[in-house]
Symmetry: C2
Subunit: 299 residues, 2 copies
């Protein structure tokens, strides 16, 4: 009798879910010489990976059983529950580690950990701070939580996907990911805003994009390092430029942008922040003191 689970074993890692992210993860693992088992609901998505040396399993449970560690990258929590088999405890999970990169809430993810634990398996929650193009990049970051021991056991494998792997407690992970992504996406959108607004001034977006990026790269990188240093040392001495001097300059920039007819909600928010920081009495401190305007939370 054909046993699909026995037929599919002895692999280093399984990847379940072959969307853009799962596919590139499997590719990167194959390139590093790993024996990779894969499964996807639509098997045609596995063709290129099979051609590259991956083994296509007959079922999700077969993939879970095939390797000591399975990477899940599915659409949402419902898809994860369907794969793991929420109705009964899936025997394929016994002594296996699931690393789940699917996007879901902390509550959902903690419930998954309980489910995997009941089945005798181990659970690691992963969050990828990278677009598919940067999976496998030594400078990419992945944040993990869940069972630390299971994470440490598979850390070397996970580092193939992202050079920097962090492990944080549950209570920090979701908040940190939200803050990190809020910063990163805002940094991206403020760039889109400046480049998009250049068109209001009759300047070609593509050329301005290159020019704005090149001229701001070091300035911004240095200012952020300086902010970290000042926050670490609680040093807000105004030896470079005072917050109120910035506020004055920002008002001039806002005026110039408005004169051009640009729509600039990001920079409007910048002006709001420094105004609040000034009203809180930080005007004679360094611009990094604007961080303190956020300490009291929503108003």
């Amino acid at each position: 009798m054909h046993n699909p689970i026995d037929a599919c074993s002895g692999f280093d890692v399984s990847v379940v879910g072959l969307g853009a992210m799962g596919t590139i993860m499997a590719q990167v693992l194959l390139k590093q010489g790993k024996r990779v088992a894969v499964w996807n609901r639509s098997p045609d998505k596995a063709q290129a990976l099979v051609a590259a040396g991956a083994h296509l399993c007959d079922s999700a449970h077969a993939a879970l059983a095939a390797s000591p560690v399975t990477i899940l990258v599915l659409l949402d929590n419902a898809a994860v529950l369907e794969v793991l088999g929420s109705a009964s405890v899936p025997p394929a999970l016994a002594k296996r580690t699931v690393v789940n990169y699917t996007t879901e809430s902390q509550e959902e993810s903690m419930a998954l950990q309980a489910l995997v634990s009941r089945a005798g398996g181990h659970y690691v929650k992963g969050m990828i701070v990278a677009y598919p193009r940067n999976i496998g990049h030594p400078q990419s970051y992945c944040i993990h939580t869940g069972e630390r021991e299971a994470f440490e056991q598979h850390r070397a494998l996970l580092q193939v996907l992202a050079g920097h792997t962090l492990f944080l407690p549950w209570e920090e992970t979701y908040a940190f990911a939200a803050l990190l992504h809020a910063h990163a996406f805002a940094a991206m959108v403020t760039f889109y805003e400046a480049v998009g607004a250049s068109q209001a001034f009759g300047m070609p977006a593509a050329r301005m994009a290159r020019q704005i990026l090149d001229a701001s790269r070091f300035f911004v990188a240095d200012a952020l390092e300086e902010a970290v240093r000042r926050l670490e040392q609680q040093d807000f001495a105004s030896d470079q430029a005072r917050l109120d001097v910035h506020a004055g300059a920002f008002a001039q920039i806002a005026q110039a942008l408005q004169a051009g007819g640009a729509w600039t909600p990001m920079f409007d928010a910048v002006c709001q922040v420094v105004q609040r920081a000034e009203s809180m009495g930080y005007g004679d401190q360094d611009i990094a003191a604007a961080t303190k305007a956020f300490a009291t939370g929503a108003r």
Copy 2:
């Protein structure tokens, strides 16, 4: 009879205005072996520079006459007019180049060019994209406009102050500077926001600052390079992550931040931008297509 102008000549460069920025400029020029003449309204600010080898002139006009090129870094346009002598055409300006790094409006700066020109001198308007700590840094930028020939003549000297010197036409310079600074300061303030908001989650700001910066550095740098590439090639194919997928994730991040009680005007603006981009029909394109949400200007 003592002639202060004759007594003060044969220098490579003069620096007029010894605030934080002018002082460090003079220091950097001295360190590069330049013969530097200086002047400041309060002469005590020149003491350290004189000890380091600078020559203190008796008057602003003496400083203008002392070198082929004078760098002005004053408080505002009124201070510049006082120094140049708006009442009469200052003879000290003949065949001299003034590089003015003072902050003033385009109209004010163009009027200064006319004044210097009437006196037989040359005028370059400069804008420093650097805090004093990064004057002299090979990666710092300076934007210039005004008389191109005078700029080219003194480019090597100006590059001592900032490794990258750009020269742009008048009509581009002020708009570019506004857009560049809008982007750079928004990138800084969004970092302050994320770090400040971490306190709403009971996380220590200093540690979170380091963690957020390290985990976002490559992600953001890569995303901005990718945006430039996509804008140059007009390629908004959604092979990495669609704009509407981002919009969904942003809503979740906003919810998480709100649940923590954080005040996040920057990230609220991010959500506003992607919503507008989605409503304009860019949902199935790459996130960089959000740039197009700004093309139509204010609503």
